[in-house]
């Protein structure tokens, strides 16, 4: 009998949990839609920048720009420090989303450290920062105030000090680890090299043939645009991670809701079977008792 009541309690508890996970799933679905729109509408800007920089960059020009040139390795007296920026979400319950990002970041840090660099870790989002602090690793910077709606301004704040440090020759490289939003179901972590800038190649050879009137000069334009390009890469990282978080949470919560449903089915069946068994047993006892009296 006590077992029956326990089962009832569990059914009720699972049912309540399912209510929560289902709500979270719905919330994520609607947030995902908006975050996805933001990813899509950020695309034209990135494409335009990539086109133009691809048009302007020539190997000779690249040699002159510190942002494009790889510094000397640590063995030849180059900078010994490298920076990794890890973007994670502020909230959990999104499946393996943050764990995957953290794993990717650790891999990158290990590679850099194996190459003899001292790695500065910059964490964006509570989850990544929390994990590395738990490991006892010192974070070079951390911020948790960027929520669902990252702005280009956020990206600028994150990357501006890194660009400055790179230009000053203190950093050997800057990597960004973020989620790549392929679809709501596919949000694998990726590492993007921010600095030195990997110059985009012009999409087609024919584009280069335009004989531009360029004012003030290709140098000056590149100088103005490279920081925008880097900033935009960070902005994209932030936006895609925000969208990826909602996608991952929706999937995780959908699975949780489905599992809760299965669990309720099983528990209900067990409960009914047990109730039936008890009734049958009681009848048997009564019949047995009556027979004994008559006997």
């Amino acid at each position: 009998m006590a077992k029956g009541r326990q089962l009832k309690g569990r059914i009720r508890s699972v049912r309540n949990t399912r209510k929560i996970t289902r709500t979270m799933e719905l919330v994520s679905t609607s947030k995902l839609k908006r975050a996805q729109d933001r990813v899509v509408s950020a695309r034209p800007y990135a494409e335009a920048l990539r086109d133009v920089i691809g048009d302007l960059v020539t190997p000779e020009l690249a040699e002159r720009f510190p942002l494009l040139r790889a510094p000397r390795g640590p063995a030849e007296g180059g900078p010994r420090r490298a920076a990794v920026v890890l973007v994670t979400s502020n909230r959990g319950l999104a499946g393996a989303f943050n764990a995957n990002l953290i794993k990717e970041a650790r891999r990158r840090i290990e590679t850099l450290e194996a190459a003899g660099y001292q790695v500065d870790l910059h964490a964006v989002g509570k989850k990544g920062g929390g994990f590395f602090r738990y490991l006892g690793r010192k974070l070079a910077s951390e911020r948790q105030d960027i929520g669902d709606r990252p702005t280009p301004e956020h990206a600028r704040e994150i990357v501006a000090p890194l660009i400055a440090a790179y230009e000053a020759g203190e950093l050997a490289s800057v990597d960004l680890v973020h989620a790549h939003f392929q679809s709501a179901l596919q949000t694998p972590p990726v590492t993007v090299r921010l600095l030195p800038v990997e110059t985009p190649t012009p999409r087609s050879a024919q584009r280069r043939q335009h004989d531009y009137i360029i004012a003030p000069s290709a140098d000056a334009i590149l100088e103005g645009l490279l920081p925008l390009y880097i900033r935009n890469a960070v902005y994209r990282g932030l936006v895609e991670t925000a969208a990826g978080e909602h996608g991952a949470r929706r999937t995780a919560m959908k699975n949780a809701t489905d599992n809760a449903g299965d669990l309720i089915d099983i528990l209900t069946r067990t409960y009914n079977r047990q109730r039936q068994a008890q009734i049958t047993q009681e009848i048997a006892e009564i019949v047995g008792g009556a027979a004994a009296l008559q006997g």
């Binding site: 800007y45 702005t151 280009p152």
Partner: protein, 91 residues
């Protein structure tokens, strides 16, 4: 020349703010305003900050822009600005 138009897109980091045909574009370049008419030679310049005016058949639209660049190729004008703000209709 007169019946030619240009395809103009105004793009900010967050979104494409405008995409349509226009007869003329006046943009704040780094060293002063530049006017673009259909048939302009391929052109690329840095933007300063100020008011961008896109004039089309139906009227003019203005944006406040800052930073970025302007690119003209084959009657396609691309204004890519670091920040594009508000838009007001003028006669």
């Amino acid at each position: 020349m007169a019946d030619r138009t240009m395809r103009v897109t105004v793009i900010s980091p967050e979104a494409a703010m405008y995409d349509g045909d226009a007869d003329s574009v006046v943009a704040p370049a780094f060293d002063g305003d530049v006017g673009i008419l259909p048939g302009h030679a391929p052109f690329m310049t840095l933007l300063g900050h100020g008011i961008l005016t896109v004039r089309g058949g139906s009227g003019a639209r203005t944006f406040r822009v800052r930073g970025g660049f302007l690119q003209v190729v084959d009657d396609r004008v691309r204004v890519v600005a670091e920040s594009v703000q508000g838009e007001s209709h003028a006669a």
